[in-house]
Symmetry: C2
Subunit: 117 residues, 2 copies
């Protein structure tokens, strides 16, 4: 997750929430709690490394709750905190808007590209 240096603190939080995997994790968890492997399968082509990193960052920010049960085989459930739900609802809105308007954006691009050789 993007972590560059000279950044205002809000930017950092925004980046965690709107990052590629952050967005998908938050939206998935808005539906219901998920285990690590469920998230992995649902999101699709995410590496274990990136998923783990994303979850840790969101947990650290207080957006995601991690419930690790000391059983064998291990079982870990992730869910949204109250804070996380607020954030997730907003990214979901943005994501849904993007889906709804994607066609319009693509038309704009074609027009732009047609006008500039």
């Amino acid at each position: 997750m993007a972590e560059s240096a000279a950044t205002c603190p809000e930017r950092l939080v925004m980046e965690h929430i709107t990052s590629r995997w952050g967005t998908l994790v938050l939206i998935a968890l808005l539906d219901r709690p998920h285990r690590f492997g469920e998230l992995r399968r649902e999101i699709g082509r995410v590496s274990e490394k990136m998923l783990a990193q994303t979850l840790r960052t969101l947990e650290r920010d207080g957006l995601v709750h991690r419930d690790a049960r000391p059983v064998i085989p291990p079982r870990v459930d992730y869910s949204l905190t109250g804070l996380g739900r607020e954030a997730a609802e907003r990214v979901r809105d943005l994501a849904h808007w993007t889906e709804r308007r994607l066609a319009a954006v693509e038309r704009a691009r074609e027009a732009y590209d047609a006008a500039s050789p």
Copy 2:
């Protein structure tokens, strides 16, 4: 602006909108149209390259309108399109939420860091 390869098309639009400079540009334009130099000063420490690139991407996506007047010295005004206004309002909400909740996030981080050596 982030442009990696194997990405679903909505992700690309999301990234343009929520990118570091994209967010700031959209929020500034939500207030009123701006000239290039005004954006540059208002946003602060953005390079001309990144600002120009961000504006071109947003224009191409149909979110920002570019009005270049053929005068000397050149004068170019940027404003939001209808589509851009919809997007800008949503990022602004997210940005405002982040500002409001920043303290809570920072408290969560302290707790997390205190718990894990």
